[in-house]
Amino acid sequence: MSDSHDSPDFINDLVRLFYMVGGVLVVGTIITFAIDLAFSLPLVWAAVIGLTIALVKASFVVAIFMHYKWDKKLIMITWTMVITFFFFAGMMGLIMWADGDAPSLARTEVPAKWVVLASLLGVALPASFTFLTVKMLSQPAPVEAAVPKPRRASKKRIN
């Protein structure tokens, strides 16, 4: 959480929000559980529903518990998140792309260009991650735009 948000009122609101998110997570788990018990879904639907609910739960955890909602102005975290998301999506995507298992690379189902693109993507994602990290850190300090203005008035130690 950035320093601009440590007034007692804000913390109280936050605690209320934490309880609500806790409720959402519990309800999400129960729904997943109930759907699986009540219906025998085909694998594809079980995957879609199960993972969608998991994604919703995860979003709440990241946004509220991990304070991302208030930190998203901070470009470092956002870039870290976005790039890792693409990395993850890329990994999953490439795997789901596969037509099947072939004993050699010379299978006809997958055109060679996909293999080349996949390799490029595999190189490009970590490379861009490194590049952006280096770029961010080598910016001359201070960069006003990247810093949310702290509310100096409320910035005192609370006991």
Partner: protein, 408 residues
């Protein structure tokens, strides 16, 4: 050296350093777990029908553990909120005034409970359940025709009953089509490649005679030392045994026999093991493998037969299998199959994160960790926040693991 920006945000990143550090660490964790998740999906999608034994997962236990972890994730953020308000600890009797320490203890309790369920129940119960593949399906038909009483009381044929167990174990009920599971079952039943799942209730274990067949005087062991080795094995007439050979010891268990064989071999004796008899042992052995059961002792197997309680009806659906009919026997350990390999890898890595989290939480509860609170409250609060971020990530991983392992 003073570490800069532990409390104030660094101007260019807008974050205090520890927070940037933990986010970068979490990013690397996403890639680590992401690779494992991808592997799981790849293996799951590519699995032959009837080989993905996820029917063995207990959905109730999984959902319960998810709840425990969600609760812990909430407690840890509440602990941080209390610190932010300067509330280190409150009386246990009034939950409204609970402070950092109260919530943190609850978090630790949840984490410990999670690991107890995983390492104390979920994993061990898999280590003492087995799959048995038979050499020949016709044996199975005979076995079920005489001595499998459960089926008679349930009505229906043997095949239907076993098919029920098989379908539940390998197929998400109708998910891959009932026709599909029926066909797969028929194929496996006819080919004899069907794996019976259940646990071993009892077995007949070899009683082994250790016979001395000779002694090599040129082995570099003196007569006195050889006799001493014999005496250690309980021989009263060491010299006589050394000269003429004979039985020593008699009808002993496998471990003793093997130890005697080794010790006597070291003393220059040639030794032969033979099975004198079989004794019935009532036990639920853990982590047995085929080799252990069929190990050759003087031409006979170490275990002659096992009493196997089939899944679904452990205590009534019992058959006795001769080890000669067994092609492979395996507990649900990592070696069992691809599914269990990736299952233990992912849940094990996740559990290791939970375990590490417990250690860090305990550190932050002890005087050595709390010293920072007394030195610089804001820095300590930030430390707890960064731990919280890690802990939420561990929770996040489980949020995805639960549907993937227990439902897909």
């Amino acid at each position: 050296m003073e570490i800069p920006y532990t409390v104030k945000p660094r101007p260019d990143t807008g974050l205090y350093n520890a927070k940037l550090g933990i986010w970068l660490f979490l990013a690397s964790e996403v890639m680590l777990f992401g690779a494992l998740f991808s592997s799981y999906v790849l293996l799951r999608v590519g699995a032959e029908p009837g080989t993905w034994s996820m029917g063995l997962m207990d959905l109730y236990v999984g959902a319960g553990n998810t709840m425990v972890l969600i609760a812990s994730s909430m407690f840890v953020v509440l602990a941080w909120a209390e610190l932010k308000q300067g509330n280190l600890a409150g009386p246990w009797m009034s939950p409204r005034s609970w402070g950092y320490k109260n919530w943190k203890w609850l978090t630790i309790a949840c984490a410990v409970l999670f690991l107890c369920v995983k390492w104390g129940y979920e994993w061990p119960s898999k280590f003492k359940h087995y799959d048995v593949w038979l050499n020949n399906a016709t044996v199975l038909h005979e076995k079920f025709n005489n001595g499998y009483d459960e089926v008679a009381s349930h009505g229906g044929g043997v095949e239907e009953h076993i098919e029920g167990i098989y379908t539940k174990r390998f197929f998400k009920e109708s998910s891959e089509g009932l026709g599909g599971s029926k066909d797969e079952f028929k194929k496996a039943w006819d080919a004899g490649t069907l794996a019976l799942s259940g646990h071993i209730n009892a077995y007949e274990e070899a009683q082994i005679d250790v016979r001395i067949t000779g002694w090599k005087a040129d082995a570099g062991v003196s007569e006195a030392d050889a006799d001493k080795a014999l005496a250690k094995q309980g021989s009263e007439d060491a010299a006589g045994l050394r000269l003429n050979g004979g039985l020593l010891p008699e009808k002993t268990d496998y471990d003793t026999a093997k130890r005697a064989e080794y010790a006597l071999g070291q003393a220059g004796f040639t030794v032969a093991l033979s099975v004198a008899d079989y004794k019935t042992v009532k036990a639920h052995p853990w982590m047995w493998r085929t080799k252990r059961v069929t190990e050759d002792i003087g031409g006979k197997p170490r275990v002659r037969s096992i009493v196997f309680g089939l899944d679904d009806s452990h205590h009534k659906g019992i058959i006795t299998l001769d080890v000669g009919d067994i092609k492979r026997l395996s507990a649900y350990e990592p070696k069992h199959s691809t599914f269990f390999g990736i299952y233990y890898t992912i849940t094990g890595l996740h559990a290791a994160h939970v375990f590490a989290g417990i250690l860090i939480m305990l550190y932050n509860m002890l005087p050595i960790g709390l010293a920072m609170w007394h030195k610089d409250r804001e820095q300590f609060t930030n430390r707890i926040e960064t731990f919280g971020l890690f802990w939420h990530f561990v929770d996040l991983v489980w949020i995805f693991l639960f549907p993937i392992l227990y439902i897909l």
